[in-house]
């Protein structure tokens, strides 16, 4: 009898999927994760830096929202990150692993800068700005279209393909930055003429970008939730066979969705170049194309939840800068702290969706018998 039990060996720990924790209990798990993260970071801060963790956390908050300007910068960071997250969402929902948002946004930015450089003398601003927007959309869409065609027609691996397209975009931008650099050889472009900067609403440099992305968020929500195309995306994402069975043209959906994804990335590039940086460089997107993937997944592809997840990332990023400035710490330390916090938050999703079961000890089992 005993031997039989042993052959049916149960692992010490096993993980089982459960019905996700709902409502307030889920929020409680998440809050618990943040508290745990802050505790771990606190211990780390004391051991590594001899600083008071409370003052470190308070500079995190002050850095993100301590002055009206910081709030605006935070909202702008949020908006740009959200824009790229919105862009990757339809693709990810379709289970198309578009990790090429960085490049798609960058070529959008490049197209914007190119329009300002070459059409700046022949077109008036109220006409050129829409042209810049269209050019960035087209450029981003092309960058999304190429891998999707290969995926749809020949089944190539889109992860590698979109990733490689990033490097092509970065090298293209470096190349043009060199060819048109001012002064000669510096690798920097001249900033685009002030009259082609996106309009300043009130006295605020970034309000235009923020409002633009807000509108985009609503549109994306409606598109994904209520449009036929949005429905097709979810069906293809759930099962390609089902989609084929009910008569969805999977190839068409893949290509169309990636064009949309790339186009919105292009818009993000446009907003960054015309509305904030006023020039393009190989680091203009600054890794947001990859962070956006996390934002989108954490929000479970819901555009409105993405506002919160991108707020979280942007908040931690802005706060981290202030930690470094106020405490004369290396940036890396604040990045360790934000990394830990994000790790715990992602980890909490695990505890919401799975339960961990420990093997009951044999003695206990015997007692139970």
């Amino acid at each position: 009898m005993k031997a039989k039990i042993k052959s049916n060996h149960e692992p010490l720990i096993h993980i089982a999927k459960k019905t996700p924790v709902q409502g307030w209990r889920a929020m409680l798990v998440r809050a618990g994760a943040i508290v745990a993260a802050l505790l771990v970071c606190g211990i780390l801060t004391v051991f590594l830096t001899d600083l008071n963790p409370i003052s470190v956390y308070s500079s995190l908050i002050v850095g993100a929202i301590g002055t009206p300007r910081r709030i605006w910068v935070l909202l702008h960071d949020l908006a740009i990150l959200l824009c790229i997250s919105l862009a990757v969402t339809p693709a990810f929902k379709m289970k198309f692993w578009n990790i090429g948002a960085e490049g798609q946004a960058l070529v959008g930015g490049l197209a914007t800068a190119a329009c300002a450089m070459f059409l700046g003398n022949s077109l008036p601003p109220h006409f050129l700005i829409p042209v810049m927007l269209i050019a960035s959309i087209v450029a981003g869409a092309i960058w999304g279209l190429i891998p999707s065609i290969f995926k749809a027609l020949w089944g190539t691996n889109e992860t590698l393909f979109t990733l490689m397209m990033n490097y092509i975009a970065i090298q293209l931008v470096s190349y043009f930055c060199f060819v048109f650099s001012v002064p000669k050889g510096s690798g920097r472009l001249e900033p685009i003429n002030e009259k082609f900067w996106l309009p300043v609403i009130g006295d605020n440099d970034y309000l235009f970008n923020i409002l633009f992305v807000l509108v985009l968020t609503v549109v994306m929500y409606i598109y994904l939730k209520y449009s036929k195309q949005g429905y097709e995306i979810s069906v293809v994402g759930e099962s390609v066979n089902t989609a084929t069975y009910i008569g969805i043209n999977v190839k068409k959906v893949i290509i169309r969705t990636m064009v949309i994804s790339g186009a919105i990335c292009g818009i993000a590039g446009f907003l960054l170049v015309a509305g904030a940086n006023h020039t393009v460089a190989d680091n203009t997107i600054g890794g947001r194309g990859f962070t956006a993937i996390m934002v989108s997944w954490l929000a479970k592809f819901n555009p409105f939840s993405m506002i919160l997840t991108s707020l979280l990332i942007a908040f931690l990023d802005r706060g981290a800068i202030e930690i470094a400035t106020q405490h004369k710490l290396n940036d890396s330390f604040s990045e360790i702290i934000t990394g830990i916090i994000i790790f715990f938050i992602i980890g909490s999703e695990f505890f919401i969706n799975y339960s961990v079961k420990f093997r009951k000890s044999e003695k206990k089992e015997a007692k139970n018998k």
Binding site: T67, R69, V182, P183, K184, T279, I307, A324, D331
Partner: protein, 398 residues
């Protein structure tokens, strides 16, 4: 239920945000004098470390408070950082990277009551803003002196029979094909040539100011092409550590790399920013005007050489450098003396440089006179960008 939860979460975070803001808004001390610094990287970059150390020294000596922002990219982040420093009460703000310039100009226009200073930039003398200033130092003189140390090391190795005089070749890792870099390696080469006439040089560009892997690879490439000594103008430890691994002597830049390279480091030239920072702070504090284009050199202590590593340097290096330094200060010796080099086989008798930056690179100023090229006199940032004979560019695409 789900939407209610979301609304609650959003409103809670807003309340939290606003309360934090109002509780903190009141605690800014208005009258304190504060200096703000913006760095492209952090202390892991030799370039930025040089500024960070000088900022600390100058501010500590003058007893002023200062704030620093590290790892500020050359994008709108730079403008945001400058604006944020203004909000924190900074009276004068300094940015250290070439690509920061346009964003600092943007900030200078937005905040006319704050002084903005920028290292290595080229636009202050044409931009005409009262609160935007460029600064540099005549680092080409320091490079020249470091070049002497390199030439003497090559001579020592030639005498020891390690290679012939014709094989004496220097490898140089450069960032961009850009006047600041070209001026740097040309003056370094001329310094080496002044003591080792047969020397040649090969330059490999990385296309980035800071890329440890690329710089290391470039140094390794040069070593594999039989370069006997390496120097660099790029900001990571990539090239010096590649030299240490290969046992090839290295003349560094921005500061001593002896801690990681005890067996190959010879000497390093660098700009000491302390004199400028003191000048800048003094002007801003006392309402004096800051030079639109500030450029000082060896005699003011703005350009210095680090301690020589006697273990690697050729004997007599220190004395040779001292002699040349005295001559440079006295004006008896000029780095770009047109009798010491040729361009396309011909001596340089006239050169129109692009001093006023424009996108067509219009040459606007005659800079050769009295038998030498007048570097860093018409503006602080270097503009020497001729390709002198003896130097081969392996790649000039960047």
């Amino acid at each position: 239920m789900k939407t209610l939860r979301k609304i609650l979460a959003i409103s809670l975070s807003l309340v939290f945000a606003l309360s934090c803001f109002f509780s903190l808004a009141g605690c800014n001390k208005e009258d304190e004098f504060i200096v703000g610094f913006i760095y492209l990287h952090d202390e892991n970059s030799t370039y930025d470390l040089n500024f960070i150390e000088a900022a600390k020294k100058a501010c500590d000596e003058l007893g002023v408070k200062y704030l620093e922002k590290t790892n500020v990219p050359e994008g709108s982040e730079c403008y945001d950082a400058a604006a944020d420093l203004v909000d924190s009460g900074c009276d004068v703000i300094f940015a250290d990277s070439f690509g920061h310039e346009d964003f600092i100009i943007q900030a200078a226009k937005k905040f006319p009551e704050v002084q903005f200073c920028h290292a290595t930039g080229t636009k202050a003398h044409t931009e005409g803003l009262k609160n935007f200033h460029n600064a540099f130092a005549s680092i080409y003189e320091g490079r020249y002196l470091a070049g002497i140390a390199a030439g003497m090391k090559l001579n020592e190795m030639i005498e020891a029979g390690k290679f012939t005089a014709e094989e004496a070749k220097i490898g140089y890792v450069g960032a961009f094909t850009f006047a600041e870099v070209i001026s740097g390696y040309s003056s370094f080469y001329l310094g080496a040539k002044s003591v080792c006439p047969s020397v040649t040089m090969e330059v490999q560009f990385t296309g980035s100011w800071y890329d440890e892997t690329a710089e290391k690879e470039a140094a390794n490439l040069l070593i594999s092409r039989n370069c006997k000594l390496i120097s660099q103008h790029a900001d990571s430890w990539g090239a010096p550590t590649a030299c240490e691994e290969a046992g090839i002597p290295n003349v560094s830049y921005n500061g001593s790399t002896i801690s990681a390279c005890p067996n190959t480091f010879i000497v390093s030239s660098k700009i000491d920013w302390t004199p400028y920072f003191k000048y800048m702070i003094d002007c801003a504090k006392n309402g004096k005007e800051i030079d639109a284009d500030w450029c000082k050199g060896l005699s003011e202590g703005s350009v210095i050489l680090t301690d020589i590593n006697e273990k690697v340097a050729a004997p007599g290096t220190k004395e040779a450098i001292e002699t040349a330094k005295a001559k440079l200060i006295a004006g008896e010796l000029h780095v770009f003396d047109t009798s010491t080099f040729t361009v396309d086989g011909k001596p340089l008798t006239s050169y129109m440089a692009d001093v006023d930056t424009d996108k067509d690179y219009t040459p606007d100023t005659e800079v050769v006179a009295d038998g030498y090229f007048h570097e860093s006199e018409f503006r602080s940032a270097p503009y020497f960008n001729a390709n002198i004979d003896g130097i081969t560019l392996l790649n000039s695409k960047f």
